[in-house]
């Protein structure tokens, strides 16, 4: 039996090794190297001659924190997250409650239709929405005009550009979140609802005291993955507002990193931007999970 186990342990490592090596070499190692890069002045000249690289300590971070454009990008990204995450989760929860309500026999149809935007290619639908938002010929102003609302300049208006991107993100992503909520709803025992009904609880009371607490773990999970995803905002402004316009109203942190790193080849500086993003995402994730643990106690 013993030799049997030894064979098993060896096989375990051997089978796991290829995937682990790929992840280590092409993800974890670059992450560590990214941190090292962020304390150097690696730039376009260093690509040709690595000997030119100097260690500059926290200089990139100091530049970063005194750079108004970085703060602008950070503020825009937070705005996108703060507006987009609750909106996506709210629409998703409503949709999940709707399709599982038991009233409709068309549940599979609605589920498929609501999910369809999720599988579409982000760049392609960002292109489509750019035309939907056209001030004169766009379907959205056309619809609003039908309701008597004056045309909005959407992507050309610094006040409306980010909400317009949020709307696209909600449309694109709520179906995914909805499916996770549906899974969470199905895990709540039916007997709880029956008992509450016998006690004369109203629909709102059942929602408030059974559905919402029952969904708490799901809600935390969804909030964490949506926040992580939304902090990585990139393709929408790249495609829809020609890279962060108007007047940088939709410039996101990742887009700023991309421009600094891959347009101007300020690689050390861009690596510092990436790391600030990493620390923010990590802090927010830890806060969310800690909040949930406290709520459970």
């Amino acid at each position: 039996m013993r030799s049997l186990h030894r064979g098993e342990a060896r096989a375990g490592w051997l089978l796991a090794a290829p995937a682990l090596l790929v992840i280590a070499a092409f993800f974890l190692l670059p992450v560590a190297a990214g941190f090292a890069l962020s304390v150097t002045d690696f730039d376009i000249y260093s690509i040709g001659d690595p000997d030119l690289v100097r260690i500059v300590g926290a200089a990139n971070y100091r530049t970063l924190f005194s750079e108004p454009l970085f703060w602008k990008a950070l503020k825009n990204t937070l705005y996108f997250v703060l507006l987009g995450v609750p909106a996506t989760m709210g629409v998703a929860l409503a949709a999940a409650l709707g399709v599982t309500s038991g009233v409709t026999r068309l549940k599979p149809v609605f589920r498929t239709v609501y999910f369809a935007p999720v599988v579409t290619t982000l760049v392609a639908v960002a292109v489509v929405w750019r035309y939907l938002y056209h001030p004169r010929f766009g379907l959205i102003n056309g619809f609003l005009g039908f309701l008597g609302v004056d045309p909005i300049a959407w992507l050309a208006d610094p006040r409306w550009a980010m909400p317009a991107i949020v709307l696209l993100a909600v449309w694109k992503n709520f179906g995914y979140t909805m499916i996770i909520f549906v899974a969470g709803l199905q895990a709540i025992p039916e007997q709880l609802y029956e008992a509450a009904r016998l006690d004369g609880a109203s629909a709102w009371q059942r929602f408030r005291h059974i559905t919402l607490p029952g969904l708490a773990p799901t809600t935390t999970f969804v909030a964490v993955i949506t926040v992580i995803g939304y902090f990585q905002l990139f393709a929408e402004p790249y495609v829809m507002t020609s890279g962060g316009g108007p007047v940088n109203a939709t410039l996101s942190v990742v887009l700023y990193m991309f421009k600094e790193g891959f347009r101007w080849w300020n690689i050390g500086y861009a690596a510092a931007v990436a790391f600030v993003l990493f620390w923010i995402v990590l802090a927010v994730t830890l806060l969310q999970t800690a909040a949930r643990r406290r709520a459970e106690r």
Partner: protein, 273 residues
Amino acid sequence: MRRRLSTLLLHLVLIAGAVAAIAPIAWMFAASLMPDGQANAEPPPLLPHPATLNQYRALFARLDIGRPLLNSTILASAVTAISLLLNSMAGYAFARLRFRGRDRVFSLLLAALVIPAQVAMLPLFLMLKSMGLVNTYLGVIVPGMASIFGIFLVRQFALSIPQELLDAARVDGASEWRIYRSVVLPLLRPILVTLGVFVFMGTWNDFMWPLIVLTDDSMYTLPVALANLMGEHFQDTELMMAGAVVTVLPVLILFLAMQRSYIEGIMMGSLKE
């Protein structure tokens, strides 16, 4: 009476939601069939009149969108095939093979899930550049060959493989590789279908990394080519919509064909976190 009213109301809301979810996709199809300039009118027309395939002809004949279509197909297929092999091996090992350090390595992997992929991109680019892989298929394939999420998904599923089955195969003298090949892989089939759909769509739809690592027009994937096309042809709404259709349609069809296993996969990935 009240019950029927609320049923009706719920259906109205659900239908309104469905219209909102479908409208952008439907308009994309409609506008792609319009003749030049028809979409730019007030109020915006909803249906092509007359419907024409001219935009698609222009895309394939003049703008050679067949090339990015081919690139996307090759890349998504290659990443899917390789990552299914690697992730299934690792997922099974983490679920069912007892080796020292297994659980510690696995929880480290899970912790790494919070790292945004962009953090790795600058060094990864420099690394692949020094390996001569920038602007090659391999530059796109290599980082996608295995994923933490894929290992996690396979592991969750592989936990349900009965230990007795594996032990019985061992007593019969089957080698560990043979057990993986002939016992485990067939049992993992459902989750591999799900993961395959996931990875294919993920690679097909990916934008930022191909944008960084592919520098030549002839290497572009569809999303990169489409974003690039917009620079020159922004005014040609109908043409751009046809380009969007060519990009979206393959994954949309794949989803409609595989939606059950795809949606079940999301539910699995979200439960038992």
